[in-house]
């Protein structure tokens, strides 16, 4: 079948490689660094229930809850499934909580109102100032292992992965993309790879990749800061019961609590070093919900760039929808043979892949149904245990 080239080895590229190989395509994926070295892997690690988006971004909320249910069954070992709370600390929060509860119901997110005393019986580390809470089906994900589940399964179905291979050019002939120019850092060599169709799954880098084909895509890197502190102080994900803002989510993971996040708009997805004031603000805001995180030793501070779809109408960056789009550049720009997969969340990569693979089937004239909703993924460890042995280069003495 057709040879599909995927540019970008994050969650989106991983899920797409899995979907396409299940449908029978030949897949090669190129990633400029190690797999998952972009935004995937360093995000907050929240498997969204969708509640965060339910009030202002219904489409994203519905996508999240659907995918949340699917991932729990196809990749269970990449998730700490302890649910989450939205906690109210003020009267405004409580009022927002009513709106949120309604919005969750209409988006199909199971939400349960609980009293302050119940919330503290579940999570004693919550501030005594808590006034009430909503229980929602949030979960913690292991960002790397979830992506590796997709990579492992795709590899077993025949996809080939090329980490440390950067796409530096996209070849076009007579208005049609014919392949890509790669610099392979493992060999220090450049080469040309021919393909029937190229998918731009480069996340916050998608604008740069599309530009290689002379195409402008509406992607805007939206970095945010995350702070990991020592100590698991809650078992549930703790969110502030207010319109999605900054410093309002604590995700427990292993023996750490991850505090986040902030959001600004950047031009360069790599020029994102965490501003000190963001760290202080995030820590202070999260400590209002769970005081212990304000005292804890900091394990690590970092930032990551969201692949936001530009939106001139949005009143603030927080209001930009977290839904996703896949673009056929034939329709928009008159360039055949290239598709871009933009936006989305780590929670929704499977859905992003389903839609993109559907578009690819349509373009190549195949009618093959998607099977990724119900196909259990193979554990991440198989990515390594399946790897071809013997031919690997040996380390130098």
């Amino acid at each position: 079948m057709e040879h599909i080239i995927i540019i970008g080895g994050g969650g989106a590229g991983a899920a797409l490689a899995h979907d396409l190989t299940l449908r029978g395509f030949e897949v090669s994926l190129f990633e400029k660094g190690e797999l998952t070295s972009g935004t995937t892997g360093r995000h907050h690690g929240l498997l969204h229930s969708g509640a965060r988006y339910a009030v202002h971004d219904r489409a994203a909320a519905v996508e999240c809850i659907e995918e949340n249910r699917i991932l729990r069954t196809i990749a269970p070992q990449a998730l700490e499934q302890n649910d989450g709370l939205f906690v109210a600390l003020s009267q405004d929060d409580e009022e927002y909580g009513e709106t949120l509860l309604d919005a969750c119901r209409t988006s199909g997110i199971k939400a349960k109102k609980i009293s302050a005393a119940e919330a503290r019986a579940l999570e004693p580390a919550l501030t005594p100032e808590v006034r009430g809470a909503l229980q929602v089906p949030d979960a913690t994900m292991d960002a790397w292992r979830l992506a590796m589940y997709f990579f492992a399964t795709a590899r077993r179905s025949g996809a080939t992965f090329h980490p440390f291979c950067e796409v530096q050019g996209i070849d076009t002939r007579a208005g049609r993309v014919t392949g890509v120019e790669i610099i392979d850092y493992t060999a220090g060599k450049t080469r040309t790879v021919k393909g029937d169709l190229v998918v731009n799954a480069a996340g916050a880098w998608a604008g740069r990749v599309a530009a290689l084909a002379g195409i402008d895509v509406p992607i805007q890197p939206g970095p945010g800061v995350l702070v990991a502190v020592e100590g698991r102080v809650t078992n549930m994900v703790i969110n502030r019961m207010h319109p999605a803002g900054e410093g309002d989510i604590i995700v427990p993971q292993r023996g750490l609590s991850i505090l986040g996040t902030s959001l600004w708009l950047a031009d360069d997805p790599e020029d994102i070093s965490p501003p000190k004031e963001h760290v202080d603000r995030i820590t202070a805001l999260c400590a209002r919900m769970v005081p212990a995180v304000g005292e804890a030793a900091v394990r690590s501070v970092w930032s990551a760039a969201r692949p936001l779809i530009r939106d001139a109408e949005a009143s603030s960056p927080q209001q930009i929808s977290r839904t996703f789009e896949c673009y056929d550049h034939k329709v928009i720009h008159g360039v055949e043979g290239i598709v871009s997969l933009l936006g989305g969340k780590a929670t929704t990569v499977r859905a992003m892949a389903e839609k993109t693979a559907g578009l690819i089937c349509h373009k190549t004239g195949h009618e093959i149904p998607c099977r990724t909703r119900t196909t259990p993924l193979i554990p991440w460890r198989c990515f390594f245990s399946d790897a071809p042995r013997g031919g690997l280069p040996r380390s130098a003495p």
Binding site: T40, E80, N82, F384, R394, S395
Partner: protein
């Protein structure tokens, strides 16, 4: 506080004609900068061909293990400011096949770790008196992030060596602790096999370098005690 430092990085591509060499990069860092931050600065500004692995930036994925001034550590949670002197030396983890520069191939790490071993466990008790509706127990991931630091530090483990190594034995013991008889038997057999716990010589390097407090040597001692009928070896 900004500070100027030098990173001395071992560069090599297997199969290339150029022999391994150390290359020195100078850069200005913050007090909080990690080794990984510095590597990203070099890759972004000075040399995009520098190969290293990384993903999570906070010691949960396990991809960024390397030798930092001679010790197995995670680049993402190692702050440069803790090192006196102006130069930090970086080398790939010994004992694993080299992919290039600081990146190694983790395939041998998983040789004795069953893909199906449970990666979840009950979470610590945080004093709560209730569980949320629909949640049967609070759970969390195992501490081992599969970084390979312990295997690299172990004097008797390594790609070409017969020993299954500290990480596999620790994972095996965790699985054993969650398994009921008689399903424990094959696990005990694996632990007691020719590649198993008998090869450990208790230098404890594994427990010393583990970045997430797995203490593999304790798990090995557990297995040894269990296999030898409760007698604790000296």
């Amino acid at each position: 506080m900004k500070r100027k430092i030098r990173l001395k990085i071992r560069r090599h591509r297997p199969g290339s004609e150029t022999p391994p060499r150390f290359e020195i990069f100078s850069l200005t860092i913050d007090a909080e900068s990690s080794v990984l931050d510095a590597l990203e600065m070099i890759q972004g500004g000075q040399d995009p061909s520098l190969m290293f692995r990384r993903s999570c930036h906070h010691s949960s994925c396990g991809t960024c293990g390397m030798l930092i001034n001679g010790d197995e550590r995670l680049a993402c949670v190692t702050r440069i400011s803790q090192f006196k002197g102006g130069t930090v030396t970086l080398e790939p983890l010994p004992g694993f096949p080299l992919l290039g520069d600081l990146a190694v191939d983790m395939t041998p790490f998983y040789r004795d770790i069953d893909e199906g071993w449970d990666y979840l466990r009950g979470a610590e008790n945080l004093g709560g008196t209730k569980l949320p509706d629909g949640v049967e127990r609070f759970e969390r991931f195992e501490n081992c992030i599969e970084c390979g630091c312990c295997v690299s530090a172990c004097p008797v483990a390594g790609e070409e060596k017969p020993f299954m190594g500290p990480a596999a034995l620790a994972a095996l013991n965790r699985e054993l602790q969650k398994t009921e008889e008689p399903a424990t038997l094959p696990l005990l057999e694996q632990a007691g096999s020719e590649r198993g716990e008998r090869l450990c010589n208790r230098t404890l390097a594994c427990s010393r370098v583990c970045p997430t407090a797995v203490y593999p040597a304790r798990h090995i001692l557990d297995l040894r005690t269990r296999l030898r009928g409760g007698r604790r070896e000296p």
